[in-house]
């Protein structure tokens, strides 16, 4: 894909939490791009830095977190270092954010319509008529009756609140919508309906989506590319379907095998032994080696880079030199 298609270029991005004792690096040298209209999924466990990365891309970090290095180029402009005033020209108009908990993201003492009005007035001087028309339009887009513009957040169900958050993100038809686990507070049925809706809106309006989740299976049918994070770094980055069919990194492989399925034979699963690392005490060498069943001596000493393998990027020494069995050929990790 040529650069003209790339809407977002993240280069060498590192984020530190500046703490009294020492700094903790939550995101370490992360680089990726997002194409116009692309759906990028970011998955990882709690504490892997996925939400911090998202906040850094949206320039929403607050102390003690700060961007230590790298750039975030959105439609050609580096957002890192811009003032709030300069950022506000971009925010919401070109790039909007949907947070995990709509209950906390929406203002509880204002009606949905009033909050839409605030957002619209922050970027121009629309007439009352224009505000009413656009607000009703976006509500219909997400399948909510516009009468609910008069409702307050507590009067809506969890699914409707999350939908109205998405409606709000659609007010200016942005080029990029950043979503941080928008469905995790919902039940499976509502969750699925919302995913289908997001995908439909995306196909209609052509915006790009960065979707962060801890649940890989949720986005398996929706994202174009998948980025797997572990301990602040990218472990694997590639086409979603390919990663599901033949994960290259032992961690990705382990994650995929940690999900029981409702289809097929009931097989015993093992999950991934051990616990995700504390970012203040990162293991030497490959950060996954203490939990990795394939780790050999050099994994404990040499920190691997992201290597291109079969069209994907993977951070694994043994995958790079071809000494690791292929997931689709050699059976699996836990069986």
């Amino acid at each position: 894909m040529s650069e003209a298609h790339e809407i977002l270029q993240v280069n060498g991005l590192s984020v530190d939490y500046v703490l009294p004792q020492r700094d903790v690096r939550a995101v370490d040298d992360v680089s990726f791009t997002v194409d116009r209209g692309e759906f990028l999924g970011i998955v990882g466990e709690s504490g892997c830095g996925k939400s911090t990365l998202l906040f850094a891309v949206a320039q929403l970090l607050a102390p003690p977190a700060r961007i230590a290095a790298g750039s975030v180029r959105f439609e050609g402009n580096n957002l890192v270092g811009l003032t709030d005033k300069q950022l506000s020209a971009v925010r919401w108009r070109d790039m909007s954010v949907v947070m995990q908990s709509a209950m906390n993201a929406l203002n509880p003492v204002k009606s949905i319509g009033a909050q839409f009005k605030d957002a619209l007035q922050a970027h121009g001087k629309p007439s009352k008529q224009e505000i009413a028309t656009r607000s009703a339009e976006v509500m219909r887009m997400v399948g909510i009756d516009p009468v609910h513009l008069k409702s307050y957040p507590h009067q809506l169900s969890g699914g409707m609140r999350q939908r109205s958050m998405i409606a709000m993100a659609m007010l200016f038809t942005p080029d990029l919508v950043i979503m941080d686990e928008p469905t995790s507070a919902l039940d499976v049925v509502a969750q699925r309906a919302l995913m289908v809706q997001i995908k439909e809106l995306q196909q209609t309006f052509g915006f790009a989506v960065i979707f962060v989740t801890h649940d890989m299976s949720l986005i398996s049918h929706f994202s174009d590319r998948l980025m797997v994070m572990y301990a602040g770094q990218i472990d694997e980055l590639g086409a979603t379907r390919t990663i599901f069919d033949r994960p290259l990194h032992p961690y990705t492989q382990g994650l995929l095998e940690a999900f029981p399925s409702i289809h097929g034979p009931r097989v015993p699963l093992r999950g991934i032994p051990g616990n995700p690392p504390d970012l203040a005490m990162i293991p030497t060498g490959c950060r996954f080696h203490p939990r990795c069943p394939y780790a050999v001596e050099r994994c404990t000493a040499i920190a691997p880079d992201l290597y291109p393998v079969d069209g994907d990027l993977v951070r694994c020494l043994r995958r790079q030199d071809g000494t690791l069995p292929r997931a689709d050929q050699e059976g699996s990790l836990s069986r």
């Binding site: 466990e45 509502a190 969750q191 699925r192 949720l218 398996s220 599901f244 409702i262 699963l269």
Partner: protein, 328 residues
């Protein structure tokens, strides 16, 4: 399999609203089920379907509005003395959803276990308590050195194991586990599910596994009870319910479970479970059900056995017709 616990027409209502708008929320309505010995029963449903209320009624946190619970054949309403109450609590302990909120942060981990041993197993001499605490920690896969740690030193998975160790210290017959893995990372969930299976197989404990995650229920449970709006929609041996779901709601639920290895199902349903306030008779799923017939809005369906051990509360399924409301 002999029966351990049975509920009969268990009902729990809550009064809501102010003085002038007295209304009744039917959190659990006419629920009858049983749990056998050495059995894991999964109780699944959307939030608000009443599954946590059932756990709390079984734990005697709430009194049932009507209906009865029998434990080892004896009705719970007959429990009068504090001693009998304590005895029941130790036989039927709870494990909570949030491992970060359910352990006292200012004490070492051993504190909770030792308190339980002192309170619920007074026959155990004080000197033996620490040994017993180490034993239950061993069963749940924690080293004895963990006893001296503070909760903040433990990961979420380890804390949840402490929760199970505390329950186990009471020598329980039935553990009420309310969403015990939903707050844990995917890579360590399986370890806890395997622990639940181990407690059943090796310690002979039954577990009521309350969850919204059908796939994890299938992984450990023997039977599945699907709740909808305070009532049981369907129950039966878990493989039967999952392969031949009889209730349209179960079919909807199964079609929505994300599965990377299966093609995306084309079900579209934007409905939501109703708030069951002062309900009128009729099936509570009828507004979302593509198969609803006239009878569904007039008569509340009750559970009927359609195949051995497999029950569903659906008028359409009970006519013997094949129910295919939502393909999964």
């Amino acid at each position: 399999m002999s029966e351990l616990l049975r509920t009969e027409h268990l009902t729990r209502h809550f009064k809501i609203g102010g003085m002038l708008s007295r209304r009744t929320l039917h959190a659990v309505d006419d629920v009858s089920f049983s749990i056998g010995e050495r059995e894991i029963v999964a109780l699944a449903g959307e939030s608000g379907s009443g599954k946590s209320t059932i756990a709390r009624v079984l734990a005697r946190v709430y009194k049932p509005t009507s209906g009865e619970i029998y434990f080892e054949g004896k009705p719970l309403s007959a429990i009068r003395s504090r001693r009998d109450g304590l005895r029941y609590s130790s036989l039927v302990p709870m494990v909570f959803q949030d491992p970060f909120a359910s352990i006292n942060p200012v004490f070492r981990v051993q504190h909770g276990v030792l308190r339980i041993l002192k309170l619920h197993r007074p026959e155990l001499p004080a000197k033996k308590r620490l040994d017993e605490a180490a034993r239950v920690f061993g069963v749940v896969g924690l080293g004895a050195d963990m006893l001296q740690r503070f909760p903040y030193e433990l990961s979420g998975g380890q804390r949840q194991r402490v929760g199970f160790a505390q329950a186990l210290a009471m020598r329980p017959k039935l553990i009420l586990a309310d969403e015990p893995v939903s707050m844990l990372d995917v890579s360590i969930r399986i370890g806890l599910l395997n622990l639940m299976a181990k407690l059943r197989d090796e310690e002979g404990v039954s577990i009521l596994y309350i969850t919204h995650d059908i796939a994890s229920a299938r992984y450990v449970a023997d039977r599945l009870i699907v709740m909808y709006a305070g009532q049981i929609a369907e129950s039966g041996p878990i493989e039967d319910v999952l392969t031949i779901p009889k209730h349209p709601y179960t079919q909807l639920l199964l079609s929505a479970v994300p599965d990377p290895m299966a093609p995306l199902s084309q079900v579209s349903d934007q409905g939501e479970p109703p708030k069951v306030v002062d309900p009128t008779p009729g099936c509570r799923f009828r507004w979302r059900c593509p198969l609803a017939i006239e009878k569904c809005s007039a008569v509340t369906p009750v559970l009927a056995e359609l195949r051995p051990g497999h029950e569903a509360a659906c008028h359409v399924a009970q006519t013997g017709a094949e129910v295919r409301a939502f393909a999964s």
